[in-house]
């Protein structure tokens, strides 16, 4: 059997594919972060906690209300997104005139509170959520669980939809305009504060959606958000803060890079993304897809 860099090519394809699946989670999460940062200029540190709330939300719906996965996929993002709207109105909106740091500190504190509540309510070892589409297909080079295939297709669709909405629709043009000159947009009769609130709600809903997607594959624990959010921040920095397309492409790309590292040097697989981040920051401080402001 011929080998590629010491690894059978089948194994390599398999790992690349798995990387793509992980990349789907990175992309969805970093997309939400990028939308929020792009429109609100807020670094939403509570994003991981909101992702965790999504995963627990799916579990609560199933356990206490008997609502299955497919229902959760719609209900949970709406509910968690609404919670985000309340947060934005009540707390975040008071900080827009201050430095980024205040928003970061506020959301960081909120993340710790949410995590603590989840630990109190559900315990540290977490809960289990059943796979809604068990089984899979043998692709020859790997066994592909149906659920993971669904994750890739669905998150690609969501990312594409979000990008189209922001770049190609009238609503999106309002949003982009409001980022550049809120005063002018307001003067045209558009309710900018409402738009900003809804944008935050949308970004949070994306995080919750990723949480629902993650529930069947990962152990649902209060810590899942804290563990993934650091990586996602690195993805956003590499892609370019606030760049929608950048965050999606980098999310999927870095997932694959990480997948390859897991084959060739697994010990380094949790730092490879940060090494790349350091290199990008040195050579292109605005990120791969970002433009310096």
């Amino acid at each position: 059997m011929f080998e590629l860099l010491g690894v059978p090519p089948q194994a390599l394809f398999g790992q690349l594919f798995l990387g793509l699946i992980n990349g789907a989670f990175y992309a969805l999460l970093s997309l939400g972060l990028a939308v929020i940062f792009g429109m609100l200029n807020v670094i939403n540190f509570a994003h991981g906690a909101q992702y965790m709330m999504g995963a627990f939300g799916a579990w609560v719906l199933l356990k206490y209300l008997g609502i299955p996965y497919w229902g959760a996929l719609v209900i949970v993002p709406v509910v968690v997104g609404a919670l985000g709207v309340v947060l934005e109105r009540l707390l975040l909106s008071r900080l827009y005139h201050l430095d980024h740091l205040y928003g970061l500190l506020l959301t960081f504190g909120l993340a710790i509170i949410f995590e603590g509540i989840a630990r109190y309510a559900f315990g540290a070892s977490g809960v289990s959520y059943e796979n809604p589409i068990p089984g899979g297909v043998n692709l020859g080079f790997m066994f592909l669980p149906w659920y993971r295939a669904w994750v890739i297709v669905f998150s690609l669709a969501v990312c594409l939809g979000t990008w189209l909405m922001i770049e190609k629709t009238k609503l999106g043009s309002y949003l982009r305009a409001a980022v550049e000159r809120p005063d002018l947009v307001q003067a045209m009769g558009i309710n900018v504060p409402l738009m900003i609130t809804l944008t935050y709600g949308f970004g949070v809903a994306l995080a919750a959606l990723a949480g629902v997607l993650a529930a069947p594959v990962y152990s649902v624990t209060p810590k899942i958000g804290a563990e993934i959010i650091i990586v996602v921040f690195a993805v956003v920095v590499i892609g370019g803060m606030g760049s929608i397309l950048g965050s999606v492409v980098t999310g999927f790309g870095l997932g694959m890079v990480e997948g390859l590292t897991k084959v060739f040097y697994p010990e380094a697989s949790n730092i490879v993304i940060f090494v790349i981040m350091a290199i990008v920051l040195i050579t292109r401080p605005a990120g791969l897809f970002g433009t310096a402001k």
């Binding site: 315990g123 540290a124 070892s125 289990s128 066994f143 152990s219 084959v263 697994p266």
Partner: protein, 404 residues
């Protein structure tokens, strides 16, 4: 300034009290439960361990009204430096005589040294590293509940002897995981099995699909999980997703707690085989303890670590009472080694010269969902590993306390 004079007053009073009551330092016994109160291991130790220590004190004091015992708890956040600082503060300033639980090996190893330095006592229930009774053993520490050697020995032996003779390890890339992998590999090879490969994954990790794919490609009959907590549950969950078990390979959890099985659910965890020291549904005493525990801890059930904390505190109090003093930590530990242990949860046992507490271990298998009759009814006992075979031989641990 006023605060400082107040503190001086308190210190003077404490000194005075200490000299007035020569036997017990500062007039009573103080037990510190140093554990993970908020992190990954807080369900299997944490607040439950504080409860178990208090319960042990309550049970022991029932017919001894004269003795004054206090229990305090603190969070070490699974960090060795925080653990060491708290231990120093407790031993030096807060008059703590004995520190119990100590989940996470790095934190236990740190306190192990400090207890020796200050001549106090450390009773380790939560941590796994067998170094505590090996090259790092001291005259002030007892390792109570389980260790990496006994887990590897129990599970490795049972599986290799029943046909699981080729292994692939998924190992958490830090001291604990590597020790567990090394100990298990030795048992597998001793029984004529082969280790076909291993992959060291970062700690903590969330996605194991890539590592599982490598394990699958190795064609090993057994995939050994040399990790703990969420790493183990994630690996098991994803192994089921990727059809590893239905494809003919089996998983061996090398350190699994009942809280992990609870988090996984029986549907995913069924059939898993592993070694533990204690199970709540083994006898009436355990069941009564578990019932009280669950009532006080939000419906959760106790792990072997909680029961170990209970057992170690009972034996400590008994030994201090026999010695009529708690000031000399090494003397208390020597007394604990001299007296046989006997409590309602771990039954009769002994403490060995190297500080190893000796009791039976059990090989458990997780029930199928249909076999489970109630909440937390998760295990069936596959085998009892007698105390004589469950632990590393005394002369094999390189503990300096053991005379050759």
């Amino acid at each position: 300034m006023r605060l400082r004079s107040l503190m001086l007053g308190v210190a003077a009073a404490a000194l005075f009290a200490a000299s007035a009551q020569a036997q017990m330092t500062d007039g009573g016994i103080k037990i510190g439960v140093l554990t993970d109160m908020s992190g990954t291991y807080s369900d299997l130790s944490g607040g439950g361990s504080v409860w178990a220590a208090k319960k042990a004190v309550e049970d022991y004091l029932k017919d001894k009204p004269g003795l004054k015992v206090e229990v305090v708890g603190a969070d070490h956040q699974n960090k060795a430096d925080i653990s060491a600082n708290t231990a120093r503060q407790w031993y030096d300033v807060d008059k703590v005589d004995v520190i119990v639980d100590l989940v996470t090996s790095s934190t236990a190893l740190a306190v192990n040294q400090i207890a020796k330095e200050k001549n106090k006592v450390a009773l380790v229930s939560g941590a796994a590293s067998s170094a505590l009774t090996g090259k790092d053993c001291t005259a002030n520490t007892i390792h109570w509940t389980y260790d990496t050697w006994s887990l590897a020995n129990g599970t490795g032996n049972a599986i290799t002897k029943t046909g699981g003779d080729s292994w692939f390890f998924l190992t958490a890339d830090y001291a604990f995981g590597q020790a567990l992998e090394k100990d298990t590999a030795a048992v597998v090879e001793k029984n004529g099995g082969k280790v076909l490969g291993k992959v060291r994954h970062p700690f903590p990790a969330q996605d194991f699909s890539s590592f599982l794919l490598q394990a699958q490609a190795s064609k090993a009959k057994i995939i050994g999980l040399a990790n703990a907590g969420a790493d183990t549950t994630n690996a098991i969950k994803q192994a089921s997703e990727f059809g590893i078990v239905s494809g003919g390979q089996n998983l061996a959890g090398l350190l699994v707690f009942i809280t992990d099985v609870h988090a996984l659910g029986l549907k995913t965890a069924q059939g898993l085989i592993f070694t533990e020291a204690w199970y709540w549904d083994a006898n009436d005493n355990n069941r009564a303890f578990a019932k009280e525990y669950a009532a006080a801890n939000g419906g959760k059930y106790p792990t072997m670590v909680h029961a170990g904390v209970y057992s170690s505190v009972i034996h400590y109090l008994k030994s201090v009472e026999a010695l009529k003093g708690d000031a000399d930590g090494a003397a208390v530990v020597a007394k604990m080694k001299e007296l046989p242990t006997d409590d309602k949860l771990y039954g009769k046992g002994t403490v060995r010269a190297d500080g190893r507490k000796i009791h039976d271990m059990y090989l458990f298998e997780v029930k199928k969902p249909a076999e489970s009759k109630g909440p937390w009814d998760y295990y069936k006992t596959r085998a009892t590993i007698p105390a004589a075979e469950a632990w590393r031989p005394l002369d094999a641990g390189e503990c300096p306390l053991v005379k050759k």
